[in-house]
Symmetry: C2
Subunit: 138 residues, 2 copies
């Protein structure tokens, strides 16, 4: 696929990045938000699996490299302004979040209780990443 | 509601903003991505309707002010890193996008055809905003 046909329509920000919403292609659940630069978009299209740019680690990040929880890209959509991508994916392993939850948005804001976790962990991050790597994303 | 309980857990970026994914609370369709600063989050919680910070116009933007297509907030979720919000909303008027489409992500990337519109317009933006205001968001 010629990724240039897509990337020429993307307005990357001053850091050369575009936010990418990751959504489960079947359930519609929003799993996470990541960032890609032009090369990450190219690799994602080429591999058919999400490759992000890690802003904290300043490196490419093939989602699932450590955990095995890769994301197979089923659909790529661009918004009206060209400054946000929506990728509908098949989430392998059942969890997108490095904390072991299915979605990174596992906390709901409750008017009385504050932030409340209302999801169940799919995996134990200590077992998947080891304690040292627990802070890294999956 | 005490918005401080939420905002103290949000990691706003260097510009004081946090990206906010807007999702239809019933269909699960991702409608748009907007940005909020602390005050926009406070107003959103207080009013129960989305109030964004417009980066292009550098002003608060109560979604639907012109079009009437407001977004009633049904659920607020925060991601693992605290640097992205997910708001599940009731989209009044059936369309979130200023172009008249239900979702801002009305274009799909096709490997052969490039970017393809595969949604139908809900309203005519010229009639809603007038030709001059057509470039403004709804």
């Amino acid at each position: 696929m010629d990724s240039e046909e897509l990337t020429k329509n993307i307005k990357f920000d001053d850091s050369g990045l575009v936010p990418v919403i990751i959504q489960d292609y079947q359930s519609g659940e929003v799993l996470m938000l990541g960032y890609m630069n032009k090369e990450a978009v190219r690799r994602t299209l080429e591999q058919g699996e999400t490759v992000f740019w890690s802003r904290t680690r300043q490196t490419f990040w093939h989602k699932g490299d450590i955990s095995g929880n890769i994301q197979k890209v089923k659909e790529v959509r661009l918004d009206c302004d060209g400054d946000c991508l929506l990728l509908r994916v098949e989430q392998v392993g059942g969890a997108a979040c490095h904390t072991g939850y299915r979605s990174c948005f596992y906390r709901r804001f409750d008017r009385v209780k504050g932030l409340v976790v209302n999801s169940k962990r799919v995996f134990d991050p200590d077992k998947v990443y080891g304690k040292k790597k627990n802070e890294q994303k999956s």
